[in-house]
Amino acid sequence: MATALDSKIPAGNINEKWESYKGHVPLVAPNNKRRIDVIIVGSGLAGASAAASLGELGYNVKCFTFHDSPRRAHSIAAQGGINAAKNYRNDGDSVYRLFYDTIKGGDFRAREGNVHRLAEVSTAIIDQCVAQGVPFAREYGGLLDNRSFGGTQVSRTFYARGQTGQQLLIGAYQALSRQVSLGTVKLYNRHEMLDTVIVDGKCRGIIVRNLLTGAIERHSAHAVVLCTGGYGNVFYLSTNAMMCNTTAAWRAHRRGAYFGNPCYTQIHPTCIPVSGDYQSKLTLMSESLRNDGRCWVPKKAEDRLKDPRQIPEEDRDYYLERRYPAFGNLVPRDIASRAAKVACDEGLGVGKSGLAVYLDFADAIKRKGRAAVEAAYGNLFDMYAKITGENPYEVPMRIYPAVHYTMGGLWVDYELMTSIPGLYACGEANFSDHGANRLGASALMQGLADGYFVLPYTIGSYLSKEIRTGPIPTNTPEFDQAEKEVRDRINQLINLGGSQSVESFHRRLGKIMWDKCGMARNAEGLKQAIEEIKALKAEFWKDAFVPGSTDDYNPELEKAWRVADFIELGELMCRDALHRNESCGGHFREEYQTDKGEAERDDKNFMYVAAWEWKGEGAEPTLHKEPLVYEEIEVVQRSYE
């Protein structure tokens, strides 16, 4: 039975909502904060910034990461930059414009209230990071430099060479390390969360596994915050790190947290193409490259395998510049990815596989000189050369779209609380701010906004009612039960004794997802995918093999648990994609497109967030709808022409 969800967006003018919220939210006094425990799961941009900020405020924080160090979180791999409405360039930027660009970039499927708040706090993030010692790029006058990114007509992206994510994460990691040394945050490296514990309808703790010893531990808290990233690895091949997984979010979902818009997946247009079956992951080439690189394919199929430098100008199709003259190579990601797919589907894709397009820097090198191009993108060019064995200063890069980011995630309200009271989700783990497509340089912005400037305010609203609760015991039936379920599942996995590796199941799941729930989807394929995934799940639990033991360092066992969760999530993603009979952003249903092949939304029937409720093993999930209300922005068909 579906019910309408309340997002708790504050009333009032869009410019006043957040200010007014902050002015009225209940506070927790300093002496009470000491008596309140908060668990943060994950140590990426969202997790590290949240843990540090809450520690500074005086809460007792425990921060868990499955990595050997918080600094390894996958935020570190973000390359291009972070957006902020500073308007340092005097080029017409403003909070409103960042807000508008983000809503439009998300194809009118994000909440106005959240996105405006994000744009408002964006400027403080840059200030905070600079104060921490983040070495952003600077101009000769010593002031901060900016560049432009897809889907915008201003330069609002701050960057640190091609390692912006690394530098921002190191900043947050340092802030976190400081709190660890001050004793406000206790850090648990190499611990993976395997379940949440719900007591009287509230999230009261988590069950974790010590990845070195296999010990199962109970940890209680007055609130739990999941900052556990996205689920792009459901596709097996993606730009995500190898260990990125959905387990924390999926386990919370099975305990009652709704999953929002699971089918919204971002396929990034500029990745190094797949080269063989052995491939374990895909490597992104930053979107910033499209500032200077030009995308093209040969006009004639017979030129596909020719040396691209021998193909004359008149025989090249700079398809983005031709189709979208206003934005050219800087159209948003979903549009650039689909345009590359269209070119390859027409038989014009280059390279051995035919699944690649050129990203050409010859013009930029001629115009600015090799040194300038090297200064801006040197590390990316080096990485490309190492992986492909080709020199991109001489030969155009070959690129193809790949899974990169998931806009979907745990459903949260304006306060970033999931549908389970006391359980929060921040960063990529939540669904909140990017609608059906995320603009470049906005993931770093959202992760840090949530952790530094949103959650520290909103969590007080809930915790102010917890000041009399006292310490939460872990020797209760709820903890007993949750721990038992975790132990049972681990034992089940280690005793499967089948004949196929976990890796092989993951690869098969990925192929189903990429073929049928990837860049283009249709009802027929999605229905097949759901059946195939159900069968895969049954086969996994009958015939997978997990080596080693449960009480030891065992990466294969970790992988097995994660893949089992991915399989269940994959089915939900296909269900969501099947139910959404429209195209929007990264969700492209072949049945719903305009004459020009652009995504065709159905605002009358689908202007809502789809939030799915787990109803138990084998049961159909229930769909809840949160209507999206646009008070400020006029909803139009998205155009970048």
Binding site: K86, G133, G165, G276, M383, E556
Partner: protein, 251 residues
Amino acid sequence: MKLNLKIWRQGGKYKGEFVTYPNLDVNPDMSFLEMLDVLNEQLVSQREEPVAFEHDCREGICGTCSLVIDGQAHGPMKGTTTCQVHMRHYHEGETIVIEPFRAQSFPVIKDLVVDRSAFDRIIQSGGYVSVNTGQAQDANSIPIEKEQASKSFDAAACIGCGACVAACPNSSAMLFTSAKVSHLALLPQGHVERQKRVLAMVAQMDKEGFGKCSNVTACEAECPKEISVENIARMNREYLGAVFVSDKKMG
């Protein structure tokens, strides 16, 4: 092509010994870690325990992967992490020797996996700027000379992988520690605490049991991010300055 791997195995049924895996079928376009994936898939299919090794982003930025390959941390290529080494640089029939990063302060956990948490503790001892969330002034209020910012960045590029320690005959952590000291000392934001920071971080480094620096500079040669030993010289200056000028006690 066919390659032979000689891999250090430790834990479970292995006491700490090299095990040879002959004739592995390898595609030249594979990355080094993808080759280990292939080996592990084979071991799993034979009901053997796979070789434990750490890895995550496979883009050369997270610092999780390690390995000493034929005696060199992160293998033969300059400025490259293990995950970015590709098999096209090897030849048919070669034998590759793979070991963990060895250092007293990096105890082996299993096979090729070591515990590098000492690095976290060095950062916790002072590798930060003490600024709470919300205390910052406008980002452009302090201009920083481009060259200076760029030098700071060069030091901040450290990925904390520990190759410097593995490469050093003394297992010294000077390059790692000095990279953080330099990163922050070169920026005005890091100036206020620079003396306290360098004293605390050096004390923690010593407490973790890392060795002394004897200017071998193998750390710079094998650093996948090509962090310069200039940083060690800078840290020494910072340290001496702090000792003589500061009234703060060491440690």
